[in-house]
């Protein structure tokens, strides 16, 4: 499981976010309560998704003092059955801002785990109470922490830490925060309802401050395939991204400390022996092919310094000045900076410059991007006007800009790899919608992956009609990366496409009891606003949505036609049954007869036609069954 092990890195201080908490959705007690719920629930679902665990999420909101009027203090607890977080990571994960594990390009509900930390920060600011984290990674021991954030230092303060025996894996986070449930309640309930619709493999329960329990049991037991982390596509990058990727690709001159020297000695097979400078160089030449890059760099440095291990231990490399062919170092023995010239003819010189100047353009492109092989890389270099062996470290800012621009312009890259996406899939979506709405008609579709500006995306949709749907008019549930989009629906691309359709053409006239579920998955959803509630009308996405809806609407109209015929037949039979006996009664007296004519014959004939149509109906009561 090493490939799915999350990396933890510390990126930036919490001070900045404390000052900009409005941006993260913590502007007032109503919004903050809702945002906090979202962040914790989504973190829980993400954690389970990534490990292929069927999620079991329990959300509880309790008022600290129920008698007080809103806004007031609440305790928000979200418990999941995910993999948990290792004890040693907990203080940093929950007690610093921008400490997260969601890097790389793959579809996930949230980004960087930043939101959860923001919620904790907001809770601490408004109540001055610590966050309680309980985590078990082995279903035996639970590590329970009480933490505060030191905002200035961006460091966790552990107030309590104890362990406890437990029977289940999972994470439970509990915070105190200032909130307004009377205003945020309907939003939170909508959120939980819609989340369970798009996550039919999850069991979600919500206990609200009034003690009301909302339970959404698991509807299916299969999980969609988890997304894989992939390299970015050339179309989806900008200058900044490239600069960041370049920094990662450049090899730094390793710090030559005791540990490093120990490693070099070991690799040269000289752990115990103390050899002279020339003897070490001889040994290195013989073993060169087996040596790692780091060790080679140290050897190269030693070749110019003309030092053995003992001397090497007393200096620190300061700078490698490639243009002037000089090597600067700090000598601890006489506490001064010294420099030596490097011979450019030396084989070691090339080793050093290559290290500092980074990879060649072609190597960089093939290693760092998806859909770029060696041939494509060479072709692209030619297109962009660079030598294929151009070293990235030697690029000027203008050249970088040109590279970035060319990456966008080059037409021959293959479309982005959608394996980083995790749509729900047709079957789970259909099952979920069926249990949710128990409709008379249901159809779903998942389009194959497409891309906009280098970002892959997949659209999946479902339409349900009639049955238990009690709403009148078309109700659209919008989701992006399995997150419900609850607000700002007016300006959303999905609504635009739905409203552009002439539904009467598909026999859905007036205010039909119709539900549309739309799910857009992408490594980057093009939101219109910072609120992340509405998707922008990118042409490529709009097209896919339109194709989905048209496909499903055609099926709906077939269903409506059949249903119309069956209804008409039934109506006709009812009319005959009502009027024909009357006609018989009247004409009997008119004709001066005593006995009524035998009109049963025509009634029965009609019935047989009707039942034929009924059989037709029963064969296919629901599309896609």
């Amino acid at each position: 499981m090493s490939s799915t092990k999350e990396k933890y890195d510390q990126i930036s201080p919490s001070e900045f976010f404390y000052r900009n908490r409005d941006l993260a959705g913590f502007s007032n007690p109503t919004r903050s309560l809702y945002t906090a719920v979202r962040e914790f629930v989504e973190n829980g679902l993400d954690a389970c998704d990534q490990r292929g665990i069927l999620p079991d999420i329990r959300l509880t909101i309790k008022a600290v003092d129920p008698e007080k009027p809103d806004p007031k203090q609440y305790i928000l607890t979200v418990k999941d059955n995910g993999p948990g977080i290792e004890s040693k990571h907990i203080p940093l994960a929950f007690g610093t801002v921008l400490y997260g594990s969601k890097f790389g390009l793959k579809q996930a509900r949230g980004m960087f785990g930043l939101g959860a930390t923001m919620a904790i920060l907001y809770g601490q600011i408004t109540t001055n109470k610590p966050v309680t984290v309980k985590s078990s990674t082995d279903a035996q021991i639970s590590n329970e922490y009480e933490l505060l954030l030191d905002i200035q230092k961006n460091k966790p303060v552990v107030l309590k830490h104890k362990t406890k025996e437990v029977a289940k894996k999972g994470l439970s986070v509990s915070i105190f925060l200032e909130g307004d449930y009377s205003k945020a309640g309907s939003k939170i309930r909508d959120y939980v309802y819609q989340t369970s619709l798009i996550t039919p493999y999850a069991s979600i329960t919500f206990e609200d401050p009034k003690g009301e329990k909302y339970q959404y049991p698991r509807m299916i037991n299969t999980m969609p395939k988890p997304p894989t982390v992939i390299r970015p596509h050339p179309y989806g990058t900008d200058v900044e991204t490239i600069r960041r990727m370049m920094v990662e690709s450049q090899f730094e001159i390793p710090t030559i400390d005791d540990m490093m020297i120990e490693k070099v000695r070991k690799d040269l097979g000289l752990s115990k022996k103390n050899l002279s400078f020339t003897a070490i160089m001889d040994k290195a030449r013989k073993r060169w092919k087996t040596l790692s890059r780091q060790v080679r760099v140290v050897i190269a440095l030693m070749s110019f310094l003309k030092m053995d291990f003992e001397k090497l231990n007393k200096i620190r490399i300061e700078d490698l000045d490639v243009p002037n062919k000089k090597l600067f170092y700090w000598d601890f023995s006489d506490s001064q900076s010294k420099s030596i010239d490097m011979d450019p003819e030396s084989q070691y010189y090339k080793q050093l410059t290559n290290t500092v100047q980074g990879e060649t353009l072609t190597a960089f492109l093939t290693k760092k991007f998806q859909r770029v092989g060696p041939t494509t890389a060479v072709k692209f270099a030619k297109f962009a006007g660079f030598k294929p062996e151009k070293r990235l470290g030697t690029m000027t800012n203008q050249e970088l800009a040109k590279l970035s621009e060319s990456l966008q312009k080059y037409d021959d890259f293959m479309g982005p790899d959608p394996s980083c996406l995790a749509p729900l899939g047709e079957e789970p979506l259909e099952k979920g919608m069926k249990k949710f709405f128990e409709p008379d008609f249901l159809t779903v579709i998942q389009r194959s992956a497409s891309a906009y500006s280098g970002f892959p995306f997949v659209v999946e949709m479902g339409i349900a009609y009639g049955g238990n749907i009690s709403t009148r008019g078309i109700k659209v549930y919008r989701f992006a990366n399995r997150i419900p989009l609850l607000y700002d629906e007016g300006s959303d691309v999905v609504l635009k496409v739905v409203n552009d359709i002439d539904w009467s053409r598909y026999k859905a006239k007036g205010d039909p009891p119709l539900v549309i579920v739309s799910h857009i998955c992408s490594t980057r959803i093009p939101y219109k606003t910072a609120g992340k509630e509405n998707v922008a009308d990118r042409q490529e996405i709009e097209r896919e949505l339109k194709l989905c809806i048209q496909f499903m609407a055609r099926k709906l109209s077939v269903f409506m036609n059949k249903r119309g015929q069956a209804e008409a037949a039934k109506k006709r039979a009812n009319l005959y049954a009502k009027y024909v006996p009357l006609i018989a009664q009247f004409c009997t007296e008119l004709a001066g007869k005593k006995k009524e004519p035998n009109y049963q014959k025509i009634l029965q004939e009609e019935k047989s036609i009707e039942s034929e149509q009924k059989i037709l109906q029963e064969e296919k009561p629901i599309e896609n069954e």
Binding site: Y576, L590, P597, N598
Partner: protein
């Protein structure tokens, strides 16, 4: 009552019975056909002469509108026709009972009676329409089936009648005995017309003027029978006018308001309406409209009021009607359109309450002889 009139009444009565028998037989044959269809496992159907505008044509010889040759099939299999089919069947059934039992009914009464038989008419308009259907299928006016409109027209004058309705058979009545006049209802319409001293029938549009005429003894002064049509003359009144003309050999003159609607009231008495194009016994082609004409407005300097938009539109509409293409009909329409003003019968009150009976009427009666 003289012996000759008595025998005449008996002969007429026989004629009435004959007519009734024919109607009952016709209804029976329709019923039998539908009975047989049902018994044979067929959805019954019949054809109805089409009453759409395109099928209404003016017959110059008959001097009235009649229906053309096109007809529509009404089938009980067609669910959009099933309901009206059943309604028509019920009406035939109900008309059969009325005729057999010699009971009368009104349009409104038909509408309410239907409810006892689970026949749902949405409103009286719908039942009235089905009654017209029955008329069209049988080519008999509803009065033959003992279905009458609400009474609103009346008659006054020296006319002896003999009732034929159950309970009153043989009873006679002189229609000058009651100064309010007699309502023209089923019993009067079906009564035998025995004899009269009158020499002319004056049909007048308005109840107010009718009362004035009675008060001024127009019946005696001009040896006339006065009939109040109550606006557009109902069918029963037109039937009575026709019988007075045909059976009693009395000329008929018509007095209306001096406007385009009055002109058309006279025309309908004379040559029928498009609405009743399916019936042919409702017209008095020899009836004469004597006033108030548009030219009278100028001639008598009558007080007027301006014509409304709809009055003017009506003028233009009537100009397209073939009956308005010649004679006074054409001329008066043109004058109305020129004047753009209209006058009521009451306008003569300007010259005194009795001016209309003392001056105007004698002049018009004289004029009528030459029309």
């Amino acid at each position: 009552m003289s012996k000759t009139s008595e025998s005449k009444a008996k002969a007429l009565s026989k004629k009435t019975l004959e007519k009734q028998k024919n109607i009952l037989e016709m209804l029976k044959s329709h019923g039998a056909k539908i009975y047989d269809d049902l018994d044979n496992g067929l959805f019954p159907k019949f054809s109805i002469p089409s009453r759409s505008v395109s099928n209404i044509v003016y017959d110059k010889k008959l001097r009235q509108y009649i229906l053309g040759n096109s007809s529509a099939l009404r089938s009980s299999k067609n669910t959009s026709q099933l309901r009206s089919f059943t309604q028509l069947m019920w009406l035939a059934f109900f008309a059969n009972r009325l005729t057999t039992e010699k009971k009368s009914s009104t349009l409104r009464d038909i509408y309410y009676s239907s409810q006892a038989f689970e026949i749902d008419f949405e409103d009286q308009g719908e039942s009235d329409n089905i009654i017209v259907d029955l008329e069209a299928v049988t080519t008999r006016p509803r009065e033959d089936f003992h279905i009458f409109p609400e009474e609103r027209s009346s008659i006054f004058g020296d006319l002896n009648i003999e009732y034929t309705i159950p309970g009153y058979e043989g009873k006679t009545m002189n229609l000058s005995n009651h100064p309010d006049g007699y309502a023209i209802g089923p019993s009067l319409t079906t009564a035998e017309l025995v004899d009269t001293s009158a020499e002319i029938v004056i049909a007048i549009e308005k109840g107010g003027l009718f009362t004035r005429f009675v008060e001024e003894q127009v019946d005696k002064k001009f040896k006339s029978i006065i009939i109040n049509t109550g606006g557009q003359a109902p069918r029963s009144t037109r039937t009575l006018l026709k019988r007075l003309h045909d059976e009693m050999k009395l000329p008929v003159i018509i007095l209306t308001d001096g406007d385009v609607y009055g002109e058309h009231i006279a025309m309908v008495i004379k040559s029928g309406s498009a609405n009743a194009a399916h019936l042919r016994e409702l017209t008095v082609p020899d009836a004469k409209w004597v006033g108030v004409w548009a030219t009278d407005i100028e001639k008598y300097k009558l007080p007027t009021i301006p014509m409304t938009e709809s009055d003017i539109k009506r003028c233009y509409d009537l100009q397209k009607d073939p009956r308005y293409l010649d004679g006074i009909w054409k001329k008066e329409l043109e004058v109305f359109l020129r004047l753009k003003r209209k006058a009521e019968l009451e306008a003569f009150s300007k010259y005194g309450l009795t001016n209309i009976t003392d001056k105007y009427l004698p002049q018009k009666l004289e004029l009528a002889k030459s029309l």
